[in-house]
Symmetry: C2
Subunit: 215 residues, 2 copies
């Protein structure tokens, strides 16, 4: 459990031994997944941390302090994952499509499902915890910027209809993706198929020369 | 606090004295708003309940039991509120618009904001608590059915473009509304204006003879 391969929140590059903070964040993540926010205590996190507990208490004061640090860490990890998917996309339109697919994958592996459930748990706490709110504000800003940039690049390249206003469209796409992800994990009906289909249909509708995408 | 005027979760009709279950649900709501799910205990709820505590313990076994009951109660209340707004709408298209405006009101009064925050808190718990999940599945099903029915009525009456497929469109609209509501309460940026504007724009786009709506 200390080899850094666990939990979907490894350091993005994974070079050499993970640093102490990475190990603390991985322990936080494992404890959060096991206990959920409501039941989680610092001692649960300490129990998952295989180095000296004093290191953990030296760096972090409280459960919410650890979790705010974790949100920063996990947000950076998620943004790095999106960057990689964007780099593999062939066109601005494909960058938007890859975004939709990462959020609403038809088949969600257990690692990604667990990460999404943990994020939902912490997101709800952001109603009352300013540090969580600050991290989600930051993550959402990056996500909206990436989507808006892909759309603006598409308009500029003439592959997205210039009726699309990138910034509000990015905000609205992120709302639909966030809502569908929340519903997927908190209710028993298929929200993923219709939402993914309609969002791809929306992208196709505004893609110019959609037939030749990928080139 | 026991006059039934508190909390946005009164019995829909408010006739006569509220019954014991209504008083228990109002106490549950007040305690949830004050403490949040993570800190909430049955004794917090009992402290808000002004009748004999034994009545409360007679009807409900645990915190999650009380909250599952509350979700049923609050869901019915919210659905009754939507029914009323739908009855006041002049056309199927206006029914969809009123739905958007109830979810994403530009000015949210404190009572409605508190109710939305409480729902977000419980929704996140539905990841792990099957009874909460069951209630959210039920509420979402009713919401999707209302939206789909309004859209289908609009198509049938010739006021909504028949390119709109009511059921997946309803699912997708509900995702966008749920996501925007979540973001509004958990991050610091204006999600409401762009999402409401684009959803109204979407409705206008597919409304046939939109100029003459309302008559």
């Amino acid at each position: 459990m200390s080899d850094g391969s666990n939990g979907g929140v490894d350091a993005p590059d994974g070079e050499g031994a993970p640093d102490v903070n990475t190990l603390i964040m991985e322990a936080t993540y494992r404890a959060l997944c096991e206990h959920g926010y409501a039941e989680l205590s610092v001692s649960h996190i300490a129990a998952e941390f295989e180095k000296s507990k004093s290191l953990l208490y030296y760096h972090y004061d409280s459960k919410d302090d650890l979790l705010a640090g974790f949100l920063r860490f996990a947000g950076d990890h998620f943004l790095a994952m999106l960057d990689e998917a964007e780099r593999e996309a062939d066109s601005p339109v494909d960058r938007v499509r890859s975004f939709v697919d990462i959020y609403l994958g038809a088949e969600l592996d257990e690692e990604m499902a667990e990460a999404q459930r943990a994020m939902i748990d912490l997101r709800a706490q952001a109603v009352a915890e300013p540090r969580f709110r600050e991290e989600f504000t930051r993550i959402d800003r990056h996500l909206r910027e990436r989507l808006a940039t892909a759309l603006a690049d598409g308009v500029e390249a003439g592959v997205v209809d210039d009726a699309v206003d990138p910034e509000p469209t990015a905000t609205w796409l992120l709302s639909a993706l966030s809502g569908a992800m929340l519903q997927r994990h908190t209710a028993d009906y298929d929200v993923v198929t219709p939402v993914r289909t309609l969002l791809h249909g929306y992208v196709d509708h505004y893609a110019v020369n959609a037939d030749s995408d990928g080139e």
